[in-house]
Symmetry: C2
Subunit: 222 residues, 2 copies
């Protein structure tokens, strides 16, 4: 289920595994195409499975739901984020929020293979117009945030009742979603570096969101 290409050197992860990965990617690719051309709800899983020549039973052994296949590229990035969070070296007086931001940036750069950026773009736009996918996405974020919270507690000794690390994570996710939104609205072909730029811009807007009054017409967002 997880991409184990990162943590293990694995010169060749056994044929069986490769086949599994191949069907997984075929499913993702075909699903993204179908959902984009037609509509998420109007595409049936039978239709998708016919295209990929896979039984519906196999689909559900690979993905837990119809929504999951649509958000797989997005989810892969957050899994990489967890990995980064476990291994990232941290400067002593760095704020937790800063550490989290670094981990997100690092995670998205590990995804810079194949045309992950294009797939993520499809994900994002699908999530933007499909309630079921958006709901699933947000739930997944909740799970990821809890996992990340565990890592934080393990790496730094934190008070289990302190709300601040959890809030920092929620803010991180919220800001990243703003970045995705902006990135998906770009006219040009999307690249990981553009996404990094938009992400930094969203992060920069965080401090002001607590204090700004909105009465003066417009200060700068950063």
């Amino acid at each position: 289920m997880a991409t184990d290409s990162v943590s293990s050197p694995s010169p060749r992860p056994t044929l069986r595994e490769r086949k599994k990965q191949r069907t997984r990617e075929a499913l993702i690719d075909t699903a993204l195409n179908l959902f984009t051309q037609q509509d998420f709800d109007s595409v049936t899983l039978d239709e998708l499975c016919d295209r990929v020549e896979v039984s519906k039973r196999t689909f559900f052994r690979t993905f837990a739901s119809k929504e999951e296949v649509a958000m797989a590229p997005y989810e892969d990035m957050w899994k990489a984020f967890i990995d980064e969070l476990e291994t990232l070296p941290v400067a002593a007086e760095c704020s937790i929020l800063q550490v989290l931001q670094d981990a997100v940036l690092a995670a998205m750069r590990t995804m810079n293979t194949g045309d992950w950026a294009h797939r993520l773009l499809s994900c994002t736009r699908l999530a933007g117009r499909t309630p079921a996918i958006e709901a699933h996405c947000l739930y997944f974020c909740g799970v990821t945030v809890r996992a990340a919270l565990d890592v934080l507690h393990r790496r730094f000794g934190l008070d289990p009742h302190d709300l601040r690390p959890r809030l920092a994570l929620d803010i991180l996710v919220a800001a990243f979603h703003r970045a995705l939104e902006a990135w998906a609205d770009r006219p040009q072909d999307p690249t990981v570096e553009h996404l990094a730029t938009d992400t930094l811009a969203a992060f920069a807007a965080i401090p002001g969101s607590l204090t700004f009054t909105g009465v003066p017409p417009a200060n700068r967002a950063g």
Copy 2:
């Protein structure tokens, strides 16, 4: 669909409407009981509809999904929040985030009727252990945040590209969810005033979440 008891004086909102409200509340009440005693997934809608003596068709005319009936009390509060946001008088140099916090507090106090608090408690605990409900809840929050953002733009003239108001809303929701979590863990009978206390505590933790380093063992959360 919305509770129109707030906006209209309505001495008696016509018999037809009252009947509708009665079935709606019977469905919510019975659903909350069933989902709590048994399990959300193991309770079928046929079972629920049998208890309330209502056809499944009618259920879906009242609620859009099985998850929605479980989160109805929660959703009602956020609808009240939107109303508050439209009407709340605001001091001139008050930060937007402060306005939002006031609106949340005001909204939960308008809910202080019947045993809304108990129903909200059931909601919260259900959402905490049922993925499908949590997903629906988070999606609903997303919709509500967008609606609130519209109100903010209407009441204060905001730059449409400014990320800060949206981030402030996301932070608000995140903090409120922490408050709900703490509130649901209280041993005593839950009251709206306790919820208000926990909400204020969660709001107080927001500023620190941007800056704390986590290296010193434990500062105070507030």
